[in-house]
Subunit: 322 residues, 2 copies
Amino acid sequence: MDLTQSVLAGDRLALARLLTQVENDSAVGRAAVDGLFPATGKAHVVGITGSPGTGKSSLVNHLTRSFRRPEDQRPPKTVAIVAVDPSSPFSGGALLGDRVRMRDLSGDRGVFIRSMASRGALGGLSRSTAAVVNVLDAAGFELILVETVGAGQSEVDIARLAHTTIVVEAPGMGDEIQAIKAGILETADILVVNKADRPGAENTERSLRLMIEMGHPAHSTRVAQPTPQGTWLPPVLRCVSTSGEGVESIAQAIVDHGDYLQKSGLWRQREYERLKTTLAILVQEALIARWRSQVSEDQIEEWVVRLCERSATPYEVVKALI
Amino acid sequence: MDLTQSVLAGDRLALARLLTQVENDSAVGRAAVDGLFPATGKAHVVGITGSPGTGKSSLVNHLTRSFRRPEDQRPPKTVAIVAVDPSSPFSGGALLGDRVRMRDLSGDRGVFIRSMASRGALGGLSRSTAAVVNVLDAAGFELILVETVGAGQSEVDIARLAHTTIVVEAPGMGDEIQAIKAGILETADILVVNKADRPGAENTERSLRLMIEMGHPAHSTRVAQPTPQGTWLPPVLRCVSTSGEGVESIAQAIVDHGDYLQKSGLWRQREYERLKTTLAILVQEALIARWRSQVSEDQIEEWVVRLCERSATPYEVVKALI
């Protein structure tokens, strides 16, 4: 049985091995992602983003527990967690969060956890995250939680992979945050004020509500899209992720948003956009690979030297090289 | 006189106009960047990065003032500030910081300030930042300070544009920071503990020193490269950017690092790598543009629909399309 079949059969060790191949972008990994593609398209992909220190990891832990052992009528779901750390491109190391989590959720076969670090390639992280998400989808996980650290371009790129995007804020992170978050907020389907037991939580909640109102609907294409099934106005939910208080409502909001996307037809639309982006990236890579096979490293280096000497301009070099 | 010539002649209005063309990636903008290329390669490019709330903007203000009116023997330098906000890809808006700054430094023809927001394209921000930096270099600014907000992939990409990278930390930003910053720290040539008058500053300084030691030299290719001229060990400098305390030593460290790069030959090496990256991006764009002109939007959409239906796999589609 090859790796792909083992993954489809539910073999965890095979899954972990395959994900390593995918992260390394090996030929085996690429072929497997392609082979598994027909089995994808069933998972609900949820992106969780926010500044460092907002408590995303413990929120993701509690959410996972809530989806595994719901307190209310919701049926349990299998959960895969992808923790992405875009700030470690050089070390290739990932946060230790997965170990801590492992202890907490270990022994549950309905949970799978994977940490990823960027390998430094331009846009490489979004591509490999997309591939990892697809493999987990094919492996049958119903809910895929993609957790990203930071507040930059990579988070936005990763948000594009998700059906539902959650932005986590916490009180007292400095006022600069408010200005910075404007762009990220526009991608949010659900807003969370974590550490809601701390001073300033009401202020944070108020500014988030204000920002949503400001962004509604003229400034944004994703927030509050009116559909025949009505409009989704991103809820602002409070929680204390260390104790788990408020996490149930967030889990419910995720389910509600999934239902909303399905009923409104937006799910299919996001799926279309997602696959179009994936295709664009693959075409780009294929074009570069083909070009690479036609040009030698020596040739490229010669031209870079001429650029260094300013004896040729970049466009002259491009013209000569392709 | 065309835009390019006006920029070379020191026309500020022409410079601002050209930068807009460059940001919009227009044909005029592209041609101008290429036309100005032979005039580039003189500026010292300094990247300033760090989490939100660490006070980067006021540090950049004080640094600019210090370079314009040095307290010691250093000759004054002309300064261009590029403030990059990678988290606003949807709004296209930039931080208001430039207005505040303008008031402070206005009237000085030796200072030019530009705010940039991402336009949402994968890697687009690094490309347009590189182009803007080149134009400012050609326009004759001796020092270019590129300030980025956040802690993600885009910051690292932008760090690659810089000769000297400064990472700014502040006390009391939560312990998660320490883990996250490991990757960013490896890019740092100078480390700054801002808000050094606040409690916890000593702790922050201590952990930074510890991380440098840990990263030296086996874990990193950039930190502490031994050369015939010796080794650069990233200094950890304290400052209070609201009052300007400690800013002079940071300005001096920037000058020292520039001298070190020149003497050790690393300046040329970084220049080579920078131009190689630029070339790779341009080749990539040219290949895609050529492909785009050969394939219709209808064809692409047809294939994306087949992907949505799972009746073709991504690689089958790529094969069919190129």
